[in-house]
Protein backbone atom coordinates (compact mmCIF):
# COMPACT_ATOMS: atom_id res chain seq x y z
CA UNK A 1 0.00 0.00 0.00
CA UNK A 2 1.22 3.48 -0.84
CA UNK A 3 2.45 5.81 1.86
CA UNK A 4 -0.49 8.17 1.53
CA UNK A 5 -2.88 5.19 1.59
CA UNK A 6 -1.33 4.04 4.83
CA UNK A 7 -1.43 7.51 6.28
CA UNK A 8 -5.12 7.94 5.50
CA UNK A 9 -5.87 4.50 6.92
CA UNK A 10 -4.13 5.45 10.14
CA UNK A 11 -5.93 8.79 10.25
CA UNK A 12 -9.30 7.10 9.92
CA UNK A 13 -8.39 4.60 12.59
CA UNK A 14 -7.19 7.35 14.90
CA UNK A 15 -10.33 9.41 14.39
CA UNK A 16 -12.66 6.47 14.92
CA UNK A 17 -10.87 5.17 17.97
CA UNK A 18 -10.50 8.63 19.44
CA UNK A 19 -14.20 9.28 19.13
CA UNK A 20 -15.00 5.89 20.63
CA UNK A 21 -12.56 6.44 23.45
CA UNK A 22 -14.00 9.77 24.51
CA UNK A 23 -17.63 8.83 24.09
CA UNK A 24 -17.70 5.17 24.93
CA UNK A 25 -14.58 3.55 26.31
CA UNK A 26 -13.84 6.10 29.00
CA UNK A 27 -17.41 6.26 30.33
CA UNK A 28 -17.66 2.45 30.38
CA UNK A 29 -14.29 2.25 32.12
CA UNK A 30 -15.63 4.78 34.60
CA UNK A 31 -18.58 2.49 35.35
CA UNK A 32 -16.21 -0.37 36.08
CA UNK A 33 -13.95 1.88 38.11
CA UNK A 34 -16.79 3.19 40.24
CA UNK A 35 -18.02 -0.34 40.79
CA UNK A 36 -14.76 -1.66 42.13
CA UNK A 37 -13.63 1.55 43.80
CA UNK A 38 -14.58 0.18 47.20
CA UNK A 39 -13.19 -3.26 46.51
CA UNK A 40 -14.46 -6.39 44.81
CA UNK A 41 -16.16 -7.66 47.97
CA UNK A 42 -18.78 -4.91 48.38
CA UNK A 43 -19.49 -4.94 44.65
CA UNK A 44 -20.02 -8.70 44.68
CA UNK A 45 -22.22 -8.47 47.78
CA UNK A 46 -24.36 -5.80 46.17
CA UNK A 47 -25.26 -8.02 43.21
CA UNK A 48 -25.75 -11.28 45.09
CA UNK A 49 -28.52 -10.21 47.46
CA UNK A 50 -31.79 -12.11 46.92
CA UNK A 51 -33.39 -9.09 45.22
CA UNK A 52 -30.39 -8.70 42.95
CA UNK A 53 -30.42 -12.36 41.98
CA UNK A 54 -34.12 -12.29 41.29
CA UNK A 55 -33.66 -9.16 39.20
CA UNK A 56 -30.93 -10.93 37.23
CA UNK A 57 -33.09 -13.91 36.39
CA UNK A 58 -36.08 -11.76 35.59
CA UNK A 59 -33.99 -9.74 33.15
CA UNK A 60 -32.75 -12.95 31.55
CA UNK A 61 -36.35 -14.11 31.20
CA UNK A 62 -37.38 -10.84 29.53
CA UNK A 63 -34.54 -11.18 27.06
CA UNK A 64 -35.14 -14.89 26.45
CA UNK A 65 -38.72 -14.18 25.42
CA UNK A 66 -38.46 -10.87 23.62
CA UNK A 67 -35.40 -11.60 21.52
CA UNK A 68 -36.51 -14.81 19.76
CA UNK A 69 -39.96 -13.38 19.12
CA UNK A 70 -38.61 -10.19 17.62
CA UNK A 71 -36.00 -12.16 15.65
CA UNK A 72 -38.47 -14.53 14.04
CA UNK A 73 -40.88 -11.78 13.14
CA UNK A 74 -38.05 -9.47 12.20
CA UNK A 75 -36.72 -11.87 9.61
CA UNK A 76 -40.23 -12.59 8.37
CA UNK A 77 -41.04 -8.94 7.98
CA UNK A 78 -37.72 -8.13 6.39
CA UNK A 79 -38.32 -10.82 3.78
CA UNK A 80 -41.82 -9.55 3.16
CA UNK A 81 -40.60 -5.97 2.83
CA UNK A 82 -37.72 -6.67 0.46
CA UNK A 83 -38.78 -9.71 -1.52
CA UNK A 84 -42.52 -9.40 -1.46
CA UNK A 85 -44.73 -7.28 -3.63
CA UNK A 86 -47.63 -5.81 -1.73
CA UNK A 87 -49.04 -2.40 -1.08
CA UNK A 88 -48.27 -0.46 2.04
CA UNK A 89 -44.67 -1.58 2.32
CA UNK A 90 -43.30 1.90 2.88
CA UNK A 91 -45.98 2.53 5.50
CA UNK A 92 -45.28 -0.66 7.43
CA UNK A 93 -41.56 0.01 7.20
CA UNK A 94 -42.05 3.36 8.89
CA UNK A 95 -44.38 1.95 11.54
CA UNK A 96 -41.76 -0.62 12.55
CA UNK A 97 -39.43 2.12 13.75
CA UNK A 98 -42.07 4.03 15.68
CA UNK A 99 -41.70 2.22 19.02
CA UNK A 100 -38.42 3.98 19.27
CA UNK A 101 -39.63 7.45 18.67
CA UNK A 102 -41.97 7.22 21.59
CA UNK A 103 -40.50 8.32 24.84
CA UNK A 104 -40.45 5.43 27.32
CA UNK A 105 -42.61 7.58 29.54
CA UNK A 106 -45.34 7.48 26.92
CA UNK A 107 -44.81 3.79 26.16
CA UNK A 108 -45.61 3.06 29.77
CA UNK A 109 -48.66 5.29 29.57
CA UNK A 110 -49.82 3.59 26.36
CA UNK A 111 -49.43 0.12 27.82
CA UNK A 112 -51.42 1.12 30.88
CA UNK A 113 -54.10 2.63 28.68
CA UNK A 114 -54.41 -0.68 26.85
CA UNK A 115 -53.63 -3.31 29.47
CA UNK A 116 -54.40 -1.51 32.73
CA UNK A 117 -57.46 -2.17 34.84
CA UNK A 118 -59.59 0.29 32.91
CA UNK A 119 -57.81 -0.33 29.61
CA UNK A 120 -59.06 -1.48 26.24
CA UNK A 121 -57.86 -5.05 26.65
CA UNK A 122 -57.05 -4.80 30.32
CA UNK A 123 -60.66 -4.66 31.41
CA UNK A 124 -61.25 -8.12 29.95
CA UNK A 125 -58.11 -9.44 31.60
CA UNK A 126 -59.07 -8.00 34.96
CA UNK A 127 -62.54 -9.51 34.77
CA UNK A 128 -61.01 -12.91 34.08
CA UNK A 129 -58.43 -12.71 36.80
CA UNK A 130 -55.42 -12.64 34.50
CA UNK A 131 -52.82 -10.16 35.53
CA UNK A 132 -50.98 -8.78 32.53
CA UNK A 133 -49.85 -5.42 33.77
CA UNK A 134 -47.79 -5.15 36.96
CA UNK A 135 -46.68 -8.66 36.23
CA UNK A 136 -44.26 -10.47 33.95
CA UNK A 137 -46.43 -10.55 30.79
CA UNK A 138 -46.83 -6.77 30.85
CA UNK A 139 -43.11 -6.33 31.25
CA UNK A 140 -42.46 -8.72 28.37
CA UNK A 141 -44.83 -6.70 26.20
CA UNK A 142 -43.00 -3.51 27.06
CA UNK A 143 -39.64 -5.12 26.29
CA UNK A 144 -40.87 -6.48 22.96
CA UNK A 145 -42.27 -3.08 22.09
CA UNK A 146 -39.07 -1.15 22.64
CA UNK A 147 -36.75 -3.67 20.95
CA UNK A 148 -38.96 -4.43 17.96
CA UNK A 149 -37.24 -2.69 15.04
CA UNK A 150 -33.70 -3.99 15.24
CA UNK A 151 -33.73 -7.30 13.46
CA UNK A 152 -35.88 -5.89 10.66
CA UNK A 153 -33.65 -2.86 10.24
CA UNK A 154 -30.47 -4.89 10.24
CA UNK A 155 -31.68 -7.56 7.84
CA UNK A 156 -33.42 -5.35 5.27
CA UNK A 157 -30.28 -3.58 3.94
CA UNK A 158 -28.39 -6.87 3.83
CA UNK A 159 -31.23 -8.57 1.95
CA UNK A 160 -31.18 -5.74 -0.56
CA UNK A 161 -27.44 -5.93 -0.87
CA UNK A 162 -27.22 -9.62 -1.61
CA UNK A 163 -29.85 -9.45 -4.33
CA UNK A 164 -32.07 -12.21 -5.64
CA UNK A 165 -29.71 -13.90 -8.08
CA UNK A 166 -28.80 -16.90 -5.99
CA UNK A 167 -32.29 -17.35 -4.66
CA UNK A 168 -33.67 -17.28 -8.19
CA UNK A 169 -30.99 -19.70 -9.31
CA UNK A 170 -31.91 -22.07 -6.53
CA UNK A 171 -35.57 -21.91 -7.43
CA UNK A 172 -35.00 -22.56 -11.10
CA UNK A 173 -33.09 -25.64 -9.99
CA UNK A 174 -36.21 -26.73 -8.14
CA UNK A 175 -35.60 -25.83 -4.54
CA UNK A 176 -38.65 -25.17 -2.36
CA UNK A 177 -38.99 -21.72 -0.75
CA UNK A 178 -38.16 -23.28 2.61
CA UNK A 179 -35.02 -24.88 1.26
CA UNK A 180 -33.99 -21.68 -0.48
CA UNK A 181 -34.48 -19.75 2.71
CA UNK A 182 -32.59 -22.19 4.89
CA UNK A 183 -29.70 -22.90 2.58
CA UNK A 184 -29.24 -19.65 0.63
CA UNK A 185 -30.91 -16.67 2.23
CA UNK A 186 -30.30 -17.32 5.90
CA UNK A 187 -26.54 -17.87 5.61
CA UNK A 188 -26.28 -14.75 3.49
CA UNK A 189 -28.13 -12.56 5.96
CA UNK A 190 -26.57 -14.13 9.04
CA UNK A 191 -24.54 -11.04 9.83
CA UNK A 192 -27.61 -8.86 9.66
CA UNK A 193 -29.48 -11.29 11.88
CA UNK A 194 -26.55 -11.56 14.25
CA UNK A 195 -26.25 -7.82 14.68
CA UNK A 196 -29.99 -7.53 14.95
CA UNK A 197 -30.06 -10.10 17.71
CA UNK A 198 -27.18 -8.42 19.50
CA UNK A 199 -28.87 -5.02 19.36
CA UNK A 200 -32.24 -6.43 20.40
CA UNK A 201 -30.66 -8.22 23.33
CA UNK A 202 -28.71 -5.19 24.45
CA UNK A 203 -31.80 -3.02 24.21
CA UNK A 204 -33.94 -5.52 26.06
CA UNK A 205 -31.30 -5.73 28.78
CA UNK A 206 -31.08 -2.00 29.27
CA UNK A 207 -34.70 -0.99 29.00
CA UNK A 208 -35.85 1.01 31.98
CA UNK A 209 -38.56 3.63 31.39
CA UNK A 210 -41.38 1.61 29.87
CA UNK A 211 -40.77 -1.46 32.01
CA UNK A 212 -40.61 0.73 35.12
CA UNK A 213 -44.14 1.98 34.56
CA UNK A 214 -45.72 -1.42 33.84
CA UNK A 215 -43.83 -3.40 36.42
CA UNK A 216 -45.21 -1.98 39.64
CA UNK A 217 -41.66 -2.21 41.01
CA UNK A 218 -42.58 -4.97 43.43
CA UNK A 219 -39.37 -5.90 45.22
CA UNK A 220 -38.23 -9.42 44.59
CA UNK A 221 -41.03 -9.97 42.08
CA UNK A 222 -41.18 -7.50 39.22
CA UNK A 223 -37.83 -5.81 39.43
CA UNK A 224 -35.49 -6.23 36.51
CA UNK A 225 -31.80 -5.38 36.77
CA UNK A 226 -32.35 -1.87 35.40
CA UNK A 227 -35.07 -1.24 37.96
CA UNK A 228 -32.72 -2.64 40.57
CA UNK A 229 -30.08 -0.13 39.48
CA UNK A 230 -32.57 2.70 39.93
CA UNK A 231 -33.56 1.36 43.33
CA UNK A 232 -29.92 1.26 44.45
CA UNK A 233 -29.46 4.80 43.20
CA UNK A 234 -32.45 5.97 45.24
CA UNK A 235 -31.00 4.28 48.31
CA UNK A 236 -27.72 6.19 47.97
CA UNK A 237 -25.98 2.94 47.09
CA UNK A 238 -24.19 4.20 44.00
CA UNK A 239 -21.62 1.42 44.16
CA UNK A 240 -24.42 -1.13 44.07
CA UNK A 241 -26.06 0.67 41.16
CA UNK A 242 -22.81 0.60 39.22
CA UNK A 243 -22.21 -3.03 40.14
CA UNK A 244 -25.57 -4.06 38.72
CA UNK A 245 -24.78 -2.04 35.60
CA UNK A 246 -21.56 -3.97 35.23
CA UNK A 247 -23.58 -7.19 35.33
CA UNK A 248 -25.74 -5.85 32.51
CA UNK A 249 -22.69 -4.84 30.51
CA UNK A 250 -21.16 -8.28 31.01
CA UNK A 251 -24.39 -9.94 29.89
CA UNK A 252 -24.35 -7.87 26.71
CA UNK A 253 -20.70 -8.72 26.11
CA UNK A 254 -21.45 -12.39 26.68
CA UNK A 255 -24.12 -12.30 23.98
CA UNK A 256 -21.79 -10.63 21.51
CA UNK A 257 -19.06 -13.08 22.43
CA UNK A 258 -21.34 -16.06 21.87
CA UNK A 259 -22.48 -14.78 18.49
CA UNK A 260 -18.90 -14.23 17.36
CA UNK A 261 -17.89 -17.69 18.57
CA UNK A 262 -20.83 -19.38 16.86
CA UNK A 263 -19.98 -17.72 13.60
CA UNK A 264 -16.29 -18.56 13.77
CA UNK A 265 -17.02 -22.17 14.49
CA UNK A 266 -19.36 -22.33 11.49
CA UNK A 267 -16.75 -20.93 9.14
CA UNK A 268 -14.09 -23.37 10.43
Amino acid sequence: MSASGRASRLTLRFLALGYLAALLAVPVAMVFYKTFEGGIGPAFDAVTTPSAQHAFWLTCLMVAIAVPLNTVFGIGLALALVRGRWRGKTLVSAIVDLPFAISPVVVGLALILVYGNAGWIGTWFAENGIRVIFSTPGMVLATIFVSLPFVVREVVPVLREIGVEQEDAARTLGASPAQTFRRITLPAIRWGVAYGVILTTARALGEFGAVAVVSGKIEGQTETLTLFVEQRFQAFDLAGAYAASVVLALLALAVIGTMTLLDRRKEA
Binding site: A80, L98, L109, F233, L248
Partner: protein, 280 residues
Amino acid sequence: MSARAETAALAPPGSWRRRRRLVTPAIGGALATAYLSLVVLIPLAAVVAESTTDGAAAFWDAVTSPQAFAAMRFTVLVSIVVVAINIVTGTLIAWVLVRDDFPGKRFVNALIDLPFALPTIVAGLVLLALYGPKGPAPFDIGFTRAAVALALLFVTLPFVVRSVQPVLIELDREMEEAAMSLGARPRTVFRRIVLPNLVPAIAAGAGLAFARALGEFGSVVLISGNIPFKTEVASVFLFGQIESDNTAGAAAVSVVLLVLSFLLLLLVSWVSTRGADRVR
Protein backbone atom coordinates in the same frame (compact mmCIF):
# COMPACT_ATOMS: atom_id res chain seq x y z
CA MET B 1 -18.88 -19.72 -2.40
CA SER B 2 -20.73 -22.34 -0.40
CA ALA B 3 -24.14 -21.02 -1.48
CA ARG B 4 -23.48 -21.98 -5.09
CA ALA B 5 -22.51 -25.50 -4.05
CA GLU B 6 -25.74 -25.73 -2.10
CA THR B 7 -27.73 -24.56 -5.09
CA ALA B 8 -26.25 -27.28 -7.25
CA ALA B 9 -26.95 -29.98 -4.71
CA LEU B 10 -30.68 -29.36 -4.53
CA ALA B 11 -33.18 -31.79 -6.12
CA PRO B 12 -35.54 -31.02 -9.09
CA PRO B 13 -39.31 -31.19 -10.06
CA GLY B 14 -42.59 -29.46 -9.18
CA SER B 15 -44.82 -27.08 -11.09
CA TRP B 16 -46.65 -25.86 -8.02
CA ARG B 17 -43.43 -24.29 -6.84
CA ARG B 18 -43.96 -21.05 -8.69
CA ARG B 19 -47.27 -20.43 -6.91
CA ARG B 20 -45.65 -21.04 -3.52
CA ARG B 21 -42.92 -18.58 -4.30
CA LEU B 22 -45.33 -15.65 -4.29
CA VAL B 23 -47.51 -16.96 -1.47
CA THR B 24 -44.80 -17.33 1.18
CA PRO B 25 -43.67 -13.71 1.36
CA ALA B 26 -47.33 -12.67 1.36
CA ILE B 27 -48.15 -14.91 4.33
CA GLY B 28 -45.00 -13.77 6.07
CA GLY B 29 -46.03 -10.18 5.48
CA ALA B 30 -49.52 -10.80 6.80
CA LEU B 31 -48.27 -12.53 9.95
CA ALA B 32 -45.68 -9.91 10.59
CA THR B 33 -48.24 -7.16 10.14
CA ALA B 34 -50.52 -8.90 12.60
CA TYR B 35 -47.70 -9.07 15.15
CA LEU B 36 -46.96 -5.43 14.53
CA SER B 37 -50.55 -4.42 15.04
CA LEU B 38 -50.86 -6.21 18.30
CA VAL B 39 -47.63 -5.02 19.80
CA VAL B 40 -47.28 -1.56 18.28
CA LEU B 41 -50.40 -0.19 16.69
CA ILE B 42 -52.87 -0.84 19.48
CA PRO B 43 -50.85 1.00 22.14
CA LEU B 44 -50.21 3.82 19.66
CA ALA B 45 -53.92 4.03 18.93
CA ALA B 46 -54.55 4.28 22.67
CA VAL B 47 -52.23 7.27 22.87
CA VAL B 48 -54.00 8.98 19.99
CA ALA B 49 -57.35 8.29 21.61
CA GLU B 50 -56.12 9.68 24.91
CA SER B 51 -54.93 12.86 23.25
CA THR B 52 -58.41 13.64 22.01
CA THR B 53 -60.29 12.99 25.26
CA ASP B 54 -60.50 16.68 26.13
CA GLY B 55 -61.45 17.79 22.66
CA ALA B 56 -59.70 19.44 19.74
CA ALA B 57 -59.26 22.80 21.45
CA ALA B 58 -57.43 21.23 24.37
CA PHE B 59 -55.26 19.28 21.92
CA TRP B 60 -54.31 22.47 20.13
CA ASP B 61 -53.63 24.33 23.38
CA ALA B 62 -51.43 21.54 24.69
CA VAL B 63 -49.39 21.42 21.53
CA THR B 64 -48.97 25.16 21.02
CA SER B 65 -48.17 26.12 24.59
CA PRO B 66 -44.84 27.99 24.61
CA GLN B 67 -43.16 25.46 26.85
CA ALA B 68 -44.33 22.47 24.81
CA PHE B 69 -43.26 24.13 21.62
CA ALA B 70 -39.87 25.07 23.04
CA ALA B 71 -39.30 21.54 24.27
CA MET B 72 -40.28 20.02 20.94
CA ARG B 73 -38.22 22.46 18.93
CA PHE B 74 -35.15 21.93 21.07
CA THR B 75 -35.57 18.16 20.94
CA VAL B 76 -35.95 18.05 17.17
CA LEU B 77 -33.02 20.37 16.56
CA VAL B 78 -30.62 18.59 18.89
CA SER B 79 -31.72 15.23 17.47
CA ILE B 80 -30.98 16.40 13.93
CA VAL B 81 -27.53 17.58 14.99
CA VAL B 82 -26.85 14.31 16.78
CA VAL B 83 -27.97 12.26 13.78
CA ALA B 84 -25.82 14.30 11.43
CA ILE B 85 -22.80 13.61 13.61
CA ASN B 86 -23.74 9.94 13.84
CA ILE B 87 -23.96 9.57 10.07
CA VAL B 88 -20.34 10.63 9.76
CA THR B 89 -18.89 8.94 12.83
CA GLY B 90 -21.01 5.81 12.50
CA THR B 91 -19.94 5.19 8.93
CA LEU B 92 -16.34 5.93 9.85
CA ILE B 93 -16.37 3.52 12.77
CA ALA B 94 -18.10 0.79 10.76
CA TRP B 95 -15.51 1.23 8.02
CA VAL B 96 -12.61 0.97 10.42
CA LEU B 97 -14.11 -2.05 12.14
CA VAL B 98 -14.73 -3.92 8.88
CA ARG B 99 -11.88 -2.88 6.61
CA ASP B 100 -9.10 -2.17 9.05
CA ASP B 101 -7.27 -4.50 11.38
CA PHE B 102 -5.49 -3.75 14.60
CA PRO B 103 -4.88 -5.48 17.93
CA GLY B 104 -7.96 -5.32 20.09
CA LYS B 105 -10.34 -4.75 17.18
CA ARG B 106 -12.71 -7.51 18.29
CA PHE B 107 -12.79 -6.00 21.74
CA VAL B 108 -13.64 -2.58 20.39
CA ASN B 109 -16.32 -4.16 18.20
CA ALA B 110 -17.89 -5.77 21.25
CA LEU B 111 -18.07 -2.47 23.10
CA ILE B 112 -20.22 -0.76 20.50
CA ASP B 113 -23.52 -2.10 21.84
CA LEU B 114 -22.90 -1.24 25.46
CA PRO B 115 -24.78 2.08 25.32
CA PHE B 116 -27.91 0.00 24.84
CA ALA B 117 -27.28 -2.44 27.63
CA LEU B 118 -26.33 0.13 30.22
CA PRO B 119 -29.28 1.61 32.11
CA THR B 120 -29.78 5.17 30.96
CA ILE B 121 -29.47 6.54 34.45
CA VAL B 122 -25.94 5.12 34.68
CA ALA B 123 -25.08 6.65 31.33
CA GLY B 124 -26.20 10.04 32.64
CA LEU B 125 -24.29 9.57 35.88
CA VAL B 126 -20.94 8.68 34.31
CA LEU B 127 -21.14 11.28 31.56
CA LEU B 128 -21.80 13.87 34.22
CA ALA B 129 -19.01 12.49 36.38
CA LEU B 130 -16.61 12.78 33.44
CA TYR B 131 -17.68 15.94 31.65
CA GLY B 132 -19.57 17.82 34.36
CA PRO B 133 -18.66 20.10 37.25
CA LYS B 134 -16.36 17.82 39.22
CA GLY B 135 -15.08 15.88 36.24
CA PRO B 136 -11.50 15.26 35.10
CA ALA B 137 -12.19 16.80 31.70
CA PRO B 138 -10.76 20.28 31.18
CA PHE B 139 -14.24 21.59 30.39
CA ASP B 140 -17.59 21.48 32.14
CA ILE B 141 -20.63 21.00 29.97
CA GLY B 142 -22.91 19.78 32.69
CA PHE B 143 -26.52 20.95 32.45
CA THR B 144 -26.09 22.63 29.09
CA ARG B 145 -27.47 21.95 25.63
CA ALA B 146 -24.13 20.38 24.78
CA ALA B 147 -24.71 17.92 27.62
CA VAL B 148 -27.99 16.87 26.02
CA ALA B 149 -26.20 16.30 22.72
CA LEU B 150 -23.51 14.31 24.49
CA ALA B 151 -25.99 12.01 26.20
CA LEU B 152 -27.83 11.50 22.91
CA LEU B 153 -24.62 10.75 21.04
CA PHE B 154 -23.87 8.11 23.63
CA VAL B 155 -27.20 6.31 23.43
CA THR B 156 -27.44 6.48 19.62
CA LEU B 157 -23.88 5.34 18.97
CA PRO B 158 -24.67 1.76 17.95
CA PHE B 159 -27.30 2.56 15.35
CA VAL B 160 -25.46 3.71 12.27
CA VAL B 161 -22.42 1.58 13.06
CA ARG B 162 -24.40 -1.62 13.33
CA SER B 163 -26.55 -0.77 10.31
CA VAL B 164 -23.58 -0.21 8.05
CA GLN B 165 -21.41 -3.06 9.28
CA PRO B 166 -23.36 -6.02 7.91
CA VAL B 167 -23.73 -4.32 4.54
CA LEU B 168 -20.03 -3.52 4.39
CA ILE B 169 -19.21 -7.11 5.22
CA GLU B 170 -21.40 -8.42 2.39
CA LEU B 171 -20.21 -5.79 -0.07
CA ASP B 172 -18.81 -7.23 -3.24
CA ARG B 173 -15.33 -5.79 -3.59
CA GLU B 174 -14.83 -6.54 -7.25
CA MET B 175 -15.93 -3.11 -8.43
CA GLU B 176 -13.70 -1.39 -5.89
CA GLU B 177 -10.72 -3.45 -6.87
CA ALA B 178 -11.42 -2.87 -10.56
CA ALA B 179 -11.63 0.87 -10.03
CA MET B 180 -8.42 0.95 -8.01
CA SER B 181 -6.56 -1.10 -10.59
CA LEU B 182 -7.70 1.47 -13.16
CA GLY B 183 -5.99 4.13 -11.07
CA ALA B 184 -8.86 5.67 -9.10
CA ARG B 185 -7.89 7.19 -5.78
CA PRO B 186 -9.30 5.53 -2.63
CA ARG B 187 -11.35 8.62 -1.85
CA THR B 188 -13.02 8.53 -5.26
CA VAL B 189 -13.63 4.82 -5.01
CA PHE B 190 -15.32 5.34 -1.69
CA ARG B 191 -17.41 8.24 -2.86
CA ARG B 192 -18.51 6.78 -6.20
CA ILE B 193 -18.68 3.06 -5.55
CA VAL B 194 -18.89 2.18 -1.88
CA LEU B 195 -20.96 5.03 -0.48
CA PRO B 196 -23.96 4.67 -2.81
CA ASN B 197 -24.23 1.06 -1.68
CA LEU B 198 -24.16 2.14 1.93
CA VAL B 199 -26.79 4.85 1.64
CA PRO B 200 -29.78 2.62 2.47
CA ALA B 201 -28.02 1.22 5.51
CA ILE B 202 -26.88 4.64 6.68
CA ALA B 203 -30.38 5.96 6.19
CA ALA B 204 -31.84 3.07 8.18
CA GLY B 205 -29.41 3.65 11.03
CA ALA B 206 -29.98 7.39 10.93
CA GLY B 207 -33.73 6.92 11.08
CA LEU B 208 -33.43 4.70 14.11
CA ALA B 209 -31.00 7.10 15.75
CA PHE B 210 -33.32 10.04 15.17
CA ALA B 211 -36.28 8.18 16.58
CA ARG B 212 -34.32 7.21 19.67
CA ALA B 213 -32.94 10.71 20.16
CA LEU B 214 -36.44 12.19 19.99
CA GLY B 215 -37.77 9.95 22.68
CA GLU B 216 -34.75 9.62 24.97
CA PHE B 217 -35.46 10.26 28.60
CA GLY B 218 -33.34 8.47 31.19
CA SER B 219 -29.87 9.59 30.17
CA VAL B 220 -30.87 13.14 29.40
CA VAL B 221 -32.99 13.88 32.44
CA LEU B 222 -30.07 13.82 34.84
CA ILE B 223 -27.47 15.61 32.77
CA SER B 224 -29.49 18.33 31.06
CA GLY B 225 -30.78 20.38 33.98
CA ASN B 226 -34.28 20.34 32.51
CA ILE B 227 -34.58 24.12 32.44
CA PRO B 228 -37.78 24.94 30.56
CA PHE B 229 -37.10 26.79 27.31
CA LYS B 230 -33.41 26.06 27.54
CA THR B 231 -32.50 22.46 28.13
CA GLU B 232 -35.84 20.76 28.63
CA VAL B 233 -36.40 17.97 26.15
CA ALA B 234 -39.80 16.79 25.00
CA SER B 235 -39.78 13.57 27.01
CA VAL B 236 -39.09 15.42 30.26
CA PHE B 237 -41.82 17.91 29.45
CA LEU B 238 -44.17 14.97 28.80
CA PHE B 239 -43.19 13.40 32.09
CA GLY B 240 -44.08 16.62 33.84
CA GLN B 241 -47.46 16.75 32.18
CA ILE B 242 -48.25 13.17 33.15
CA GLU B 243 -47.11 13.79 36.72
CA SER B 244 -49.37 16.83 36.86
CA ASP B 245 -52.33 14.76 35.68
CA ASN B 246 -52.48 16.31 32.26
CA THR B 247 -52.30 12.97 30.44
CA ALA B 248 -54.41 14.21 27.55
CA GLY B 249 -51.99 17.09 27.00
CA ALA B 250 -49.01 14.75 27.24
CA ALA B 251 -50.62 12.41 24.73
CA ALA B 252 -51.26 15.35 22.39
CA VAL B 253 -47.62 16.45 22.35
CA SER B 254 -46.61 12.83 21.97
CA VAL B 255 -48.86 12.44 18.94
CA VAL B 256 -47.26 15.45 17.28
CA LEU B 257 -43.79 14.02 17.87
CA LEU B 258 -44.96 10.65 16.58
CA VAL B 259 -46.34 12.17 13.39
CA LEU B 260 -43.08 14.02 12.90
CA SER B 261 -41.03 10.87 13.39
CA PHE B 262 -43.36 8.90 11.18
CA LEU B 263 -43.01 11.37 8.33
CA LEU B 264 -39.26 11.33 8.66
CA LEU B 265 -39.17 7.54 8.80
CA LEU B 266 -41.35 7.42 5.67
CA LEU B 267 -38.83 9.64 3.97
CA VAL B 268 -35.96 7.45 5.10
CA SER B 269 -37.83 4.38 3.95
CA TRP B 270 -38.41 5.93 0.55
CA VAL B 271 -34.79 7.04 0.22
CA SER B 272 -33.56 3.56 1.11
CA THR B 273 -35.77 1.87 -1.46
CA ARG B 274 -34.97 4.37 -4.17
CA GLY B 275 -31.27 4.34 -3.36
CA ALA B 276 -31.13 0.57 -3.45
CA ASP B 277 -32.97 0.42 -6.78
CA ARG B 278 -30.71 3.04 -8.32
CA VAL B 279 -27.58 1.15 -7.38
CA ARG B 280 -28.85 -2.08 -8.88
